[in-house]
Structure formats: C-alpha cells, structure tokens
Amino acid sequence: MEQLTNNKIKTEEYFINMGPQHPAAHGVLRLLLTIDGEIIKNVDPDLGYIHRSIEKMCERDSYQQIVHLTDRMDYLSSHINNGAVCLAVEKALQLEVTDRVKVIRTIFDELTRIASHLLWWGVMGMDLGALTTYFYAFRDREMINDIFEETCGARLTMNYYIPGGLMFDLHPNFVNRVKKFLVDIKEHLPEYDRLLTGNVIFQKRTKGIGMLSKEDAISYGVTGPVARGSGVHCDVRKTHPYHAYDRVNFEEALLPEGDTFSRYKVRIKEMWESISIVEQLIDNIPEGDIKVPTKAVIKLPKGEFYQRVETARGELGVYINSTGTKNPYRLKFRSPGFSNLSVLNHISKGGKIGDLVAIMASFDFVIPDIDR
C-alpha cells in the first residue's frame, strides 16, 4: 500500500497485437497497439494478410474480366465497385449507356448501400455488446440478397454490370420484391432506433469518442460516411453525379460533431436517403436496351482514364492507364478503406481499448478493400 501511494511501482508501455484474427476486428486486420495500462499510445496497422494482388491481376485480364475481380475488393458494395470499372471503361470508349441501364444501376447501387449499412449496423451493435442487432439487420439484408439473387444469380459476388450495360435484364418479380422490401424496411428502421440508437449504454460508448475534426478529415483524405460525420461535403453522388443521380432528389447526410455517434447517425440517415432514391426510381424504369453492343475484345484508346464513385464506405477511384491494347498497362484502385484507416492512429490515441473497438466499428472497415 505504501508503495502504491508513493508511486514507486515501475510502469512501462507495452505492446499488444489486436488481430489478425480478432473477434472485434472486421477481417484480418492486425493492429500493433502500444498501450500504457488501458490507454492507447499508438496504433500501427499492419496490412497484407489478405493481399491478392488484384491490381496486378487486372493487368493480365481483359476489361470484361476485370469487373469480376472488383467484387472481391469491397465485397459489401460489389455492384458499386463493378459500376466504377464499367464507368471508367465506358468513359474511355466514349460509350453512352441507355437510360434503362443508368436507372437500374442506380437502384442496384442504392440497394447495395442499404445492404452494406444494414450489415454495418448489425456488426456495430455486436461489437459493442448488443448481439440482437445482428439478427435484426440480417433479417432485412436477406430480403435484399434475395432481390439480387433473383436478378443476378449471386448474393455477394454479383458481376452484374458489364462495360456497356448489364449482363441480364431485370427479373419480372424485381419491381414487386423491391416495393415489398421498401415497405418492410420503413417499418423496421424505426425499430432499430428503439433497439440501439436510444440505448444509454450505446450512447455513452459512442458520444464524444474518436473525435475527428473537419480539418483532419480533409487532410487525411478521409471520405464517405466517416468524413460526412465530421461535416465534410464529399459525396461523389452530389459532387460528380454518375449513373442517374443527377435526376433524383436526395440529401447528403452531413453532421458536424465528428464523433463515433455522428458517424453512426450519418449511416442511418443514408439508409433513409437510399430508400427515397429507390422509391423515386422504382416506378419509372425506362424501357430500352440493357446493353450497348461492344466489341468482343475491348481495346481502350491510349491514355489515362479516371472514374470515381461513392461506395458504402467512401470514394472509390479507378485509374486506368492504357497503351491501346486489350489489357490495361496499369490499373490502380483508390480504395476508401485504405485512406480511412490512415486516420485511425490519430483519433484513437489517448482512448481506451474499448473505444478503439467502437471507433473501428464506426469506420466500417472491409479488409479485402484495404489490402486488395
């Protein structure tokens, strides 16, 4: 006792691994933590556990084949990733897809965003000790998966968009299924608020935790709901509209607080906005062709092409450097997760290990997107 009061116990910082296999880390992310007691002094992410050299494989593949690799980056926004590559190739070929394709792509992108945010909501609750949320979120996500499976044949790795259009037309049941889903999800989202958002334990663990200022968000290149939770206007759907986003009315979810709870609220609000976008489009899908014919072997003109889209996690950029052959000379993905991860050390310093789990949950990392 005397020793304690005289502060003579020798303390030192120690080092601990969080991951690569950790129940609270989403995927195989290894964080090297330097800890003083329970206070985090430094977070050093160590990557490469799920690196599959997708960018290098793209140099080998034709432009139609590249699309299916992007499913495997951010697997929760696979439609949106597919769209990024297709848009980049279409931009290079100066190909204008039909209105029907644009509207269908927009609906699928927004359904993907809802599905991704639903999974995030379930997992965020689970990370903070509320296992129930997981089952509720998966109940609703299952309906979107059924919609996708009926039209595309796949539940996760869709490969539905092709350069010039879509692989197949919509399934006849598609519109009815989506309408039924919209009715159900609008009943269920307020239920989510009662279950988790209003919970005192959840609020105490998220409010004021992981503060990210607007200036830091911009200087670290943070995008997506994380940046919008700090009040940065960065929604690519608003700033550089693609697909049919220029013809729908929606509000960019922006909150100025910059803490974990505001990132949570941004995503909940984005789900409502996505529902409203789908509602605006589902009744007036224009008739038309589902693909513009392209050559069997697509050769892009010589030059550099860049296209960015808003995935559920932030801004995904596709950079194609073509030398005029059937393969890209270099293809680079600017993935949202990688840039968002860079700010993790900055905002979790000084917090507790439990706070780090909450911060990571609010960042919604998909590790295959970070490693590629």
């Binding site: 129930t132 499976e149 039209t151 796949a154 790795t157 490969n159 209003g198």
Partner: protein
C-alpha cells in the same frame, strides 16, 4: 442525483429495446424467417438464375450444342475451362469438322462470374442450380461436361 437518473434512463432504454425483441418473441410463429436447412433439402428451391455450377445439357439422343469454338475458354478469367478438340469427319457431310473431345470444367477454380455463359454463341453451357458442392477430394471438382459418346446436335453452327 444524476446517479439515480442514470439508473432510471438505463432501465428505461433497456425496456424500450426489450419491448422490440419481446414483440418479435410473441409473433415468432406467424413470421418465421429462418429455414431448417439440411432438413428442407427436398423442398428448397433456388432461383432460376442462381449460379451453382456450369453444366452442359444433353438431349435424349445424347447430343449437346457445343461446337468447340472455345469462346468460353477465352472468356474465362481464371482458366476454369479447358477444351480438348479434334477435327473429325462429320457423318452428315463427309467433311472434316472441329468437334470437342472433352470439355473440362474445373469447379475448384471457378469464380461464378458467368462470362463463359454470356460468351457462348450456341447456348451450349448453362448454370445449374445445385448448391452443395463440397467433396472430400479436390480432384472430384474437375468435371468433364460432355457425356461419354455424346455428339454435336445437327444444325448447330458457330
């Protein structure tokens, strides 16, 4: 004082959340959303576009539609399809014609992207809806899609 109000708020929000779960607990019989998977194998229907594995349908005369054009082999991003072909005498015309000997499909390498089926000009290969592909030996996943003794259906050209 805030100590007691915290306890009060904690219990209140806990009960709010439990009302949601309790409501579902009461209605559990009417809105069952889970499936008893291994027991419902006989009735479980996959969607008609579900990508299970690539198959080559044969008709009752053991004839398929594959001309051996190798479009699927070229379209495949990861070498899942190998076609071994030969020029054989076509009995109808007496001329030598490209025919498949074996259409080999490696299910173990397939990523279910569907590019081969989009590329096929004669609709010779389609998706099957089977979903249980686990086997004890990896070599069982290498399949020959054309049945032994099968031949090209008459009238199908590239």
């Amino acid at each position: 004082m805030s100590y007691f109000s915290d306890i009060y708020n904690g219990i209140k929000t806990l009960l709010t959340g439990m009302r949601v779960t309790g409501g579902h607990f009461v209605r559990i019989r009417s809105e069952n959303i889970t499936q008893l998977y291994p027991d419902n194998r006989d009735t479980l229907q996959m969607f008609e576009r579900f990508r299970g594995e690539v198959v080559m349908p044969h008709d009752e005369n053991n004839e398929h539609r594959c001309t051996g054009c190798q479009s699927c082999e070229i379209a495949c991003p990861n070498g899942s399809i190998e076609i071994i072909w030969d020029r054989q005498v076509d009995p109808a015309t007496g001329k030598k014609k490209k025919m498949i000997d074996k259409h080999i499909y490696h299910l173990s390498m397939c990523t279910m992207c569907g590019l081969c089926i989009s590329a096929c000009p004669t609709d010779a290969i389609v998706w099957a809806q089977n979903y249980e592909n686990a086997v004890y030996d990896r070599s069982a996943l290498t399949k020959v899609l054309n049945q032994p003794g099968s031949k090209l259906k008459a009238g199908i050209e590239e």
